[in-house]
């Protein structure tokens, strides 16, 4: 006869679950409201989502206090692992989402925002991503990965255009493949070590001195492919431009920031010990992927004729940049990763938000795509303020000082220099120069060309609303005055990353 299992509730440490439960409750509440009274305006759901995310954020603040005092917390059968990385990345996930969700309050009515389910799924996605970063277990990561992806496939399709369906199906297929790779990689590691917890895997592998090198490599390569698919590293990037093009601009901006930081944290947890274990092959593979991702995506971005596709390739390049931080793997570089991503989310939020503001319901005859470069020609003459703000975001993306992203680049390149990766530092610097060209191309169109017939401020501001404008204003201010917040941010992140042992 089996002994009854006796577990005290305290040992479960359910506090670790609170941050994720809040968006889940919010999502369920939104669904319930819809059941009782349908057809409510989207503004209700937007504000509800923001409120729940704000609560989530304040709970995270408490959690960060707890971490600062007591260190890493473990709970729920050792499934949950709340360390500095988990808290930092949750801050980014929740914080960025708070700024993305008001983009749904656009001036024109688009399909997706009319469904309450959209907002429910948005909150589910965030909860799943929060789970993904606060665990050490490959299984929970997998569950979270699938939950968030399934919600995102649907959210993309809800935009209800032909291209959106195409994008959603493409993302789904690619996502399924990545999930397959992931589970295969996890299986190999389980077979090797008998554990699905990353720190256990690391301990066992170190104890037997990486005896089964071949299997470790196979597992690593599968894992790298899975993560590569999700954060869009070359050669696993092919879905990204099409999906960014098909999804609405606000959704594309969300995709380019929030899910990726979660995957970066997973990559950090997984690859950090593998690189430091002296698996030289992994370092070479990662080095090659990083350099290729940065360089090739920049070159592809040069030839794009649509701004949104250009931004898609630019996001790939930025992801490669950040992957370099994982490759370097020092405390400084991991700090740089978070700093970079925080600054990047401000700027990219602004850039995609601007595209979203210029979204038209119907294209005029001279247009072939939604956001072709020609659309922005002569914008300085018809709506100067919008052009200035857009130009600002482009300069920031190009890494021009003193705008936000420059400081991120500075710190990542510095970490490469410090760790002795001189060649990598030079490649990163020169890639920033190449990238300068395509960001500049948009500036050239906006400031130096003459407007196209039929394009005027009613198009550029067509989708504007108070919510949208305030978000963009906020992003612009954040981009310009990032240097003010830099020092506290840097100290905070460094302390958290260092205390988590990375």
């Amino acid at each position: 006869m089996l002994e009854p299992v006796n577990i005290s509730l305290e040992s479960l440490n359910l506090v670790t679950l609170y941050p994720m439960l809040i968006p889940v409750i919010g999502a369920l509440l939104i669904i319930c409201i819809d059941i009782f009274k349908g057809g409510l305006d989207k503004s209700l759901y937007v504000v509800m989502s923001i409120l729940f995310l704000l609560i989530d954020f304040s709970v995270l603040l408490t959690a960060s206090d707890v971490f600062a005092n007591d260190g890493t917390a473990i709970g729920v059968f050792d499934m949950m692992l709340i360390d500095g990385l988990a808290i930092l990345s949750q801050f980014i996930i929740v914080g960025a989402s708070i700024f993305f969700i008001p983009l749904a309050m656009s001036g024109k009515k688009f399909h997706e925002a009319s469904y309450p389910e959209f907002f429910a799924m948005f909150l589910f996605t965030i909860a799943a991503l929060q789970f993904m970063v606060s665990t050490d277990s490959l299984i929970l990561i997998f569950v979270a990965l699938e939950t968030s992806s399934l919600a995102m496939y649907t959210m993309i399709a809800m935009h209800n255009r032909n291209k959106s369906f195409e994008a959603a199906v493409k993302y789904f297929t690619m996502g399924a493949l990545a999930a397959g790779f992931y589970s295969f990689g996890a299986m190999v590691f389980y077979a090797l070590t008998g554990s699905v917890e990353i720190n256990q895997i690391a301990t066992v592998l170190a104890a037997n001195g990486y005896a089964d090198m071949g299997y470790v490599l196979i597992g690593t390569v599968f894992m790298l492919a899975a993560i590569g698919f999700k954060v869009a590293l070359i050669p696993f990037h092919t879905w990204a431009p099409d999906i960014y093009e098909g999804a609405s601009a606000s959704m594309a901006g969300f995709l380019s920031i929030v899910p990726k930081i979660a995957l970066f944290v997973v990559a950090m947890r997984l690859f950090e010990f593998l690189i430091h274990s002296g698996v030289i092959w992994l370092e070479i593979i990662l080095y090659a992927i990083v350099v290729i991702t940065m360089t090739l995506s920049n070159i592809w971005a040069l030839v794009q004729s649509d701004v949104k596709r250009m931004l898609a390739y630019s996001s790939i390049s930025h992801a490669g940049f950040v992957m370099a931080a994982i490759l370097i793997g020092t405390t400084q570089s991991n700090t740089a990763l978070f700093l970079y991503w925080i600054l990047f989310s401000f700027t990219n939020l602004g850039a995609f938000g601007m595209l979203w503001m210029t979204r038209q319901k119907e294209l005029i005859s001279s247009q072939t795509t939604d956001h072709g470069y020609e659309k922005f020609a002569g914008m300085i003459k018809t709506s100067p303020m919008a052009a200035l703000v857009m130009g600002l975001f482009m300069l920031s993306l190009a890494g021009l000082p003193p705008f936000a992203l420059f400081w991120g680049k500075l710190y990542i390149i510095s970490s490469a220099v410090t760790a002795g990766y001189t060649f990598l530092a030079l490649v990163m610097a020169l890639n920033s120069a190449i990238a300068g060209y395509y960001y500049l191309k948009l500036i050239v169109y906006m400031f130096m060309k003459d407007p196209v017939e039929g394009m005027n401020s009613s198009v550029y501001m067509g989708n504007a609303s108070l919510a949208l404008k305030s978000i963009l204003g906020f992003a612009a201010l954040g981009t310009i005055f990032a240097f003010v917040a830099l020092n506290p941010l840097l100290e905070f992140i460094t302390a958290f990353v260092y205390n988590s042992g990375y």
Binding site: I380, L395, A398, L400, P401, P402, F406, W407, L410, Y411, I413, S414, V417, T418, A425, L426, A429, L430, S432, A433, G436, Y437, L440, I443, V444, F447, M448, K449, F483, L486, N487, L490, E491, T494
Partner: protein
């Protein structure tokens, strides 16, 4: 207030520029001129309160920006940067005052004020990152000026200008990060302050690499042969005001940075690369002079002659002694005044005829006598006539390099004389002979607005040519301290002997150059 006069000098034009959005476009020019005049007055005040007997930094300001990473808002001015700042304020003022009818004059003036912020910022920044911020930021207004108000190829020219400089500076940025890292290794704290870096003595092979990284950034900006190809396009397409500011101030950023960064940070590498750079400089002088001779377009002639003179500045800088460096700094100012004036003069004729081809002109001396006189004066200054401002600088630069190498100096000197040929030839084509083209018969002479800019420039050209002491003395004091620093810091025997020791009572055997 004098404590933070440098911050005021940087941010006053920027703040005024932002307020400029509220000004009605008819009053914009008056507003721009007023702001620029106040700024110029402030810069004169800075000069007045500057103590020329002190060789170190004055009016220093410090504010931590990113403390944990050693980035500070650190400003200061010494004899090397003082006059370039005054010059920048002066040129912005006369540039706006003499601005001819432009479309979107409001945007133009706001852009110019922003540009002024970055120009002053570069020359007073004593923190490498702060320097880099202003250095890069200065590209944006210039990009807009060339790209929006330029000639038919303006977009190509402006993007080329931007990308060239941007790529070079990023390499320089990696160099800066290395410097900061070495400083961190040596002391345990991060610092980007240039004065801190001065104290750092690096092994020679590190110096060579870092010198290379910084060199790429600076050489593209100067621009040195073979990185000069962006400049003729930029000048050819830029509107007059753009060319004036570009030639007078922006190019000086590169040569100034050589003196501020390369020489004192890497004295051994500077000695090592002295002859290669001198040879490049001489190629620059000779080659661009020859190219200038072949031009049909008067603006291109001025542009190439401007590159040619930048070669002399680089040569003087890499003489690595007091005469040479002082001369090169003086020549920076002289070159700013003269080439700025020449571009203004080209602008005058372009406004009247909308062409810059020399073949379209001829006999202008009889039609526009005042114009011909001022042009002649500036041309004489440009070829280095004694008693004009350029002569002092060129003479000192060559004198300095003469102590390092007789033959190269001789070559450079002859090249400068040969360089006079193309300027005189251009002058002959435009001003002498009969008026052959009917369109030129009734051209009006220079008007008041243009004289506002040209007369002060002419006065400076002659005044500083005859009596350069008030400017030379503060420069000399600051340069002496830098040369002494280089001598003390250098580690190789070669560098010790090339860079003179200014402290006479040292017990070392007197080191004769050459």
């Amino acid at each position: 207030m004098l404590d933070n006069i440098l911050s005021i000098l940087i941010f006053f034009p920027a703040v005024a520029g932002i307020f400029g959005f509220m000004i009605h476009k008819d009053s914009m020019r008056a507003y721009g001129v007023s702001v620029a005049t106040i700024e110029f007055a402030l810069s004169l005040w800075l000069w007045y309160s500057f103590d020329s007997n002190v060789s170190g930094m004055q009016f220093m300001e410090q504010l931590p920006l990113v403390e944990s990473f050693g980035i500070n808002y650190l400003l200061g001015v010494d004899g090397i940067s003082l006059f370039i700042i005054v010059l920048a304020a002066f040129f912005t003022m006369i540039g706006i005052a003499s601005l001819t009818d432009t479309k979107n004059v409001k945007n133009m003036i706001i852009t110019l004020l922003m540009l002024q912020m970055t120009m002053v910022g570069v020359f007073v920044a004593l923190d490498a990152i702060l320097f880099y911020v202003f250095w890069e930021l200065s590209l944006v207004p210039m990009l807009y000026i060339i790209g929006a108000w330029g000639g038919p190829l303006r977009i190509y020219a402006s993007v080329k200008f931007f990308l060239y400089t941007f790529a070079g500076s990023l390499v320089m940025l990696v160099g800066m990060l290395f410097m900061a890292y070495f400083y961190y290794q040596a002391t345990g704290v991060w610092s980007f302050a240039i004065l801190d870096w001065y104290r750092l003595i690096l092994p020679e092979n590190f110096q060579l690499w870092l010198f290379g990284a910084f060199f790429i950034g600076f050489a593209i900006k100067v621009p040195m042969f073979p990185f000069h190809t962006w400049l003729p396009y930029a000048h050819g397409q830029a509107p007059t005001i753009g060319s004036v500011i570009l030639a007078a101030i922006l190019l000086k950023m590169g040569t100034y940075a050589f003196i501020r960064f390369s020489l004192p940070l890497f004295p051994d590498a500077s000695t090592f690369f002295m002859f290669p750079i001198a040879i490049i400089a001489i190629i620059m002088i000779v080659y661009t002079a020859m190219v200038a001779y072949a031009q049909e377009d008067i603006k291109q002639v001025v542009a190439y002659s401007s590159v040619s003179h930048m070669g002399v500045i680089v040569l003087g800088t890499f003489a690595l002694n007091v005469e040479g460096i002082t001369g090169s700094i003086f020549l920076m100012i002289a070159h700013g005044v003269v080439s700025g004036a020449l571009f203004l003069l080209v602008g005058v004729i372009y406004d009247r005829r909308h062409t810059k081809m020399m073949s379209e002109f001829g006999g202008l001396a009889s039609v526009m006598p005042r114009y011909a006189t001022i042009f002649g004066l500036m041309l004489m200054a440009s070829v280095g006539m004694p008693l004009t401002i350029n002569f002092v600088g060129e003479f000192l630069s060559l004198l300095g390099f003469y102590q390092q190498s007789h033959i190269l100096t001789l070559l450079a000197g002859t090249a400068i004389i040969v360089g006079a040929i193309y300027m005189l030839a251009a002058y002959k084509k435009m001003f002498f002979g009969e008026v052959t083209n009917e369109k030129n018969i009734n051209l009006p002479d220079v008007n008041k607005r243009e004289l506002v800019a040209l007369i002060p420039l002419s006065i400076i050209t002659i005044w500083l040519g005859v009596y350069p002491k008030p400017v030379l003395e503060p420069i000399n004091n600051s340069v002496e301290s830098i040369v002494q620093l280089m001598h003390d810091k250098s580690i190789t025997q070669e560098a010790k002997s090339r860079i003179p020791n200014l402290v006479k009572d040292m017990d070392n055997s007197p080191e004769e150059a050459n």
